[in-house]
């Protein structure tokens, strides 16, 4: 096939061949040529109102489908607007392809209009990026980008396309798998775990008296939720699911302890702390999990399964490091354990450990003081009601702040890929666009975004996109009139000296704002209004709904392990503190 087409046509054809069904983007000068063949393509383009929105939509789409999200924007300011979502995707290992326009090759380096060093700027926030200097390279570079974004530890890949490269004609050639692999001699992700390490892990698991399965986001990336469940049940061992792994193990499973970490529950935190073996699966000992590293799980041996060798020993040196794909490795570990059991070996009796863990669960349930009549609405109550009213299979997205922690704490995630949030970067403004992307990826599901009043104001305009493109989502704003999470830190660690955290109780008018963007707006001020409002929101399918809950500004997220604290010193809700001694 020696047919001549333009670089832009090659780009769109390549995206089609990579099975892209949706692009989130916004055109401009340098990317113009690519938008022309898009008109003739079956690919759906969703026109955003700000490029950051396109990036988070692509992330939300990738979160729920497992397929890479694609964003396409122009050069200069559009490319810099993509830096935040790229970094977000990089931190949370989200497969994403970002296509940016660039000034013509002849103008590169001349400070041309809307020129910026996109590959330079995004180098440290992408898994890989490329400036494509010839139209002939486009198909191979696109194939490489998808291969790199989706294999190994997934991540964002950016392709920077100068305008003349898009305009020039090229000879179409779609490279074979072999050509792609041969063109990447330095990229060979390991997916199979080392057999000797797997045997050692199996033996260590049977020998442990106080084991905990520490499940991270890698479980979801590797589509290993079923394998995890099989392993947990085989060894009858409790599971903690990190913020990135909520849903990777069902919350209603008797072995599920829920979320550990800074705002984890006391049981999950303490069980890790007291464990003698942390079976670490696709998790990375983030500082939000370990608290003060020196005192983290001091008696625990560590099995660490991760596809990224750089995670091994980065924070905590593992006793058994296993580099590989979580699903494949867990399946191998299960086999190895069964072999040992069939060979007559026995697992240690862990019943004493399990009853200790159950004791903590009884003593330290998640807790907040319930509403007294006439009192301000509790945000946790709103979340419980949202949870209980949500249709089966609802996907929950969240922003960043107190509402995010309450979402993770109070929701029941019984299915993988139903929780979409910004974990590593903690990007305010993530939830509305991510929810739109999630809804595009899973139109069959109800998608709720739980957002803060602060976060919402960062990217709310994408609800216009949602309305125009007919992507109905639901947004619950927990309006506490504050940058609540920051307020909490100022209350607790800066002697209640509140500095620049008060937003406004009246402004903006979220209901009017929602209506102006084509959504239904509902305001809720008292506990009695909560349930009817949620029911109404859930009954509306043809447009987006924004429910503003006016909630108690004084409510804080507990438990809490403040930065630099040991997990041993987790702060419980003050009403639970008298039971502290049970946390031994």
């Amino acid at each position: 096939m020696t047919q001549k087409i333009t670089g832009a046509q090659a780009l769109i054809r390549a995206l089609e061949l990579e099975n892209v069904d949706t692009i989130f983007g916004l055109p401009g000068g340098c990317i113009l040529p690519a938008y022309d063949p898009l008109l003739d393509s079956p690919i759906r383009h969703i026109l955003v109102r700000h490029e950051q929105g396109a990036g988070h939509m692509a992330e939300g789409y990738a979160h729920v489908t497992g397929r890479p999200g694609v964003a396409m924007v122009t050069s200069g300011p559009a490319a810099t607007n993509m830096v935040t979502p790229l970094c977000d995707a990089f931190m949370d290992s989200i497969p994403m392809i970002c296509i940016t326009g660039q000034v013509p090759t002849t103008a590169i380096g001349t400070d041309a209009f809307q020129e910026c060093d996109t590959v330079g700027i995004t180098r440290s926030v992408t898994k890989h990026n490329e400036l494509i200097m010839s139209a002939d390279d486009i198909p191979l570079m696109v194939r490489q980008a998808f291969h790199i974004a989706t294999t190994g530890r997934p991540g964002p890949v950016l392709l920077d396309l100068p305008k003349d490269v898009l305009q020039n004609s090229m000879t179409w050639h779609w490279p074979s798998d072999k050509e792609v692999l041969d063109s990447l001699p330095g990229y060979k992700p390991v997916s199979k775990g080392h057999p000797r390490m797997i045997k050692e892990a199996a033996r260590m698991i049977l020998d442990a008296k106080q084991p905990i399965l520490y499940a991270g986001g890698g479980i979801l990336k590797a589509r290993a939720a079923d394998a995890l469940r099989e392993l947990a049940e085989l060894i009858d061992t409790p599971v903690v699911t990190t913020l990135m792994a909520r849903g990777a193990f069902p919350d209603d499973h008797p072995l599920c302890l829920g979320m550990p970490g800074m705002h984890g529950n006391a049981t999950a935190i303490t069980a890790m702390q007291k464990s003698d073996l942390l079976i670490t699966l696709g998790a990375r000992f983030d500082d939000r999990i370990t608290g003060k590293v020196a005192t983290f799980a001091p008696d625990a041996k560590i099995i660490h399964v991760d596809i990224d060798p750089a995670e091994q020993g980065k924070v905590r040196r593992p006793d058994v490091p296993i580099v590989g794909d979580c699903r494949l490795v867990i399946e191998e570990i299960i086999k190895a354990i069964k072999d040992l059991l069939n060979g007559g070996e026995k697992q240690q009796d862990i019943s004493a450990w399990k009853s200790r863990v159950s004791g903590w669960r009884e003593q330290f349930p998640l807790y907040y003081p319930t509403n007294e009549p006439g009192e301000a609405l509790k945000p946790q109550y709103c979340l419980e009601q949202l949870r209980d009213g949500a249709p089966e299979g609802t996907i929950l997205c969240s922003g960043v702040g107190q509402h995010q922690m309450w979402s993770s704490q109070y929701w029941k995630f019984n299915e993988p890929y139903t929780w979409v949030n910004s974990g590593g970067l903690g990007t305010m403004g993530f939830s509305v666009p991510a929810a739109i992307g999630a809804k595009v990826g899973r139109p069959d599901r109800t998608v709720w975004a739980v957002d803060g009043d602060g976060c919402f104001q960062m990217t709310a305009q994408e609800l216009v996109t949602a309305s125009v493109e007919r992507i109905p989502i639901k947004v619950a704003i927990l309006n506490n009139s504050y940058l609540g999470m920051v307020r909490q830190w100022q209350e607790m660690f800066y002697e209640e000296r509140y500095s620049e955290v008060y937003l406004s109780p009246e402004l903006p008018d979220f209901v009017k704002w929602a209506e102006s963007m084509g959504c239904i707006g509902i305001r809720v001020e008292s506990p009695e209004e909560v349930q009817p409002a949620i029911e109404k929101a859930n009954s509306i399918d043809d447009r987006s709904v924004v429910v503003e809950f006016r909630v108690d500004a004084g409510e804080k997220v507990f438990p809490m392990v403040p930065a630099g604290f040991s997990n041993d010193d987790v702060l419980l809700h003050p009403d639970q503190n008298n039971r502290r001694e049970f946390l031994r």
């Binding site: 898994k127 190994g152 001699p185 330095g186 060979k188 990224d308 060798p309 750089a310």
Partner: protein, 183 residues
Amino acid sequence: MSTNSYASSHPAHHILSVLVQNRPGVLARVSGLFARRGYNIFSLAVAPTEDPMLSRITIVVDVESAPLEQVVKQLFKLVDVVKISELDPRRSVERELLMATVRVPAEDRAQVVELTNIFEGKILAVGVEAITVSLDGSPDKIDDFEELLRGYGIVELQRTGRVALPKLDKEARLKAVKHGKAS
């Protein structure tokens, strides 16, 4: 007197030999990883290898071994990095090139010429009041030469940074940091 001496002040240095695809931006990717983690690269030399598709970057780093492990692993993750070897300084040959212009009046020139000859260096250019010399050799020898030249007054000095290959004796081998490649 301050010199560029590395060997004398940092007995336990690390030499990384990084084989990369010979493409634009590779050096920025590699050096960016060090910069981001606050490591100082002591010296760095880059050139194509026998295979024109590949370049070898020789990096001498100023760190303890534990944190170096993390940088090496991060380097492996760069798509353009094909292979990384950490060369054990005791088992590798290291070479560096120095060029220096020394201010020296005609009557003292013979001393500098003699010094250069003792070190088996070369005279590259001679002027009325200055002389340009070069020396290639082991970094230690270059350090010594530089220090002696300083006594005369160095006008300009350029060192290349070291390049290294494993020794050819029986024990010599590349201590491969890792065989497989990272994701």
